[in-house]
Symmetry: C2
Subunit: 182 residues, 2 copies
């Protein structure tokens, strides 16, 4: 049974290793269980169909977000929720997506660089420090932290379940999803 | 008032000047009036957000269809109808979209080349004949006509209204949209 909702975009931005994908997967599961029609977009889900010609230069990162934004625009205005997790380091591009889409919520998935580097789930930070990977956000490429994110999540201070609960509560408050009553 | 429908893709293929855009616009109007949630995709609506790096080589044409297909996949599986009008001259790419999307209907918008060239709404055929435009489908680039299109429309034999009625009837027969009772 699907519910009717207005369409919205949860735009998860943050450093590599901050927990964007983990949170996105947990949120997807919870929202689907509640009957929310949704698509989860991240580097892996869009690469084959949309962005496989792109690398990590600023120009290519911007093109990447631009194409994802187009998809999120069409989905969100047709009442499909979007959970998008992209480092999306540039504030200007995040503002671009905000303007393009319906009910855009910036979710700052925040953990200190040292913590992300300590986790180093995929070994990218070690490679970036060794100079084997270039243009790595937080090491030799900038990350412009959100200044007014609708939702600010500290994954170094709260558990995944707590972070998911914070985001769901925020969606309920905005009446983007119905509140669950016990 | 929006109706619930299963999501489908009307893929309008045909030569430049065959009437794809004219038909798509008329269909969009009629389907919206019936409460069908939909997006209309064509070269103009996708260029800025999705395909402005692409030209008219075979490789670029294929990439163009690939990206549009990704968007159509996400929309159609979330119960949003898609009206896509692209020359899409290569049968293999149309089959690719068929496999990727939900309830794909190939609509062959058919008019003889001579008729399309006579119409020459945008003056492209004249330029292609003069060699000022290269890789123009039907002149110096192939068009692989559909062999088993779900819907075959002859815009040289029927009026726009008649063609639209044929397509709507086909959607009703498949129960993709509710039949209108007089």
């Amino acid at each position: 049974m699907m519910i009717e909702h207005p369409g919205f975009v949860l735009w998860m931005t943050g450093l590599s290793g901050a927990g964007k994908t983990t949170l996105a997967l947990a949120l997807e599961k919870e929202l689907r269980a509640r009957g929310v029609r949704l698509e989860r977009l991240d580097g892996d889900t869009v690469r084959e169909g949309l962005t496989r010609d792109l690398g990590f230069s600023k120009e290519d990162r911007d093109k990447n977000i631009e194409r994802v934004s187009f998809v999120a625009k069409l989905l969100s205005r047709n009442h499909v929720a979007v959970i998008a997790s992209f480092i999306s380091p540039y504030a200007a591009m995040r503002e671009f997506v905000r303007k393009e889409t319906t009910n855009f919520l910036e979710v700052y998935v925040d953990a200190p660089l040292e913590e992300c580097e300590r986790r180093d789930v995929k070994g990218w930070y070690a490679k970036a420090r060794a100079g084997q990977v270039k243009n790595f956000t937080g090491i030799d490429d900038p990350y412009e932290a959100p200044e007014n994110a609708e939702i600010h999540i500290r994954t170094d201070l709260y558990s995944i379940d707590e972070c998911v609960a914070q985001i769901l509560e925020s969606l309920e408050e905005r009446q983007f999803i119905p509140a669950v009553t016990a």
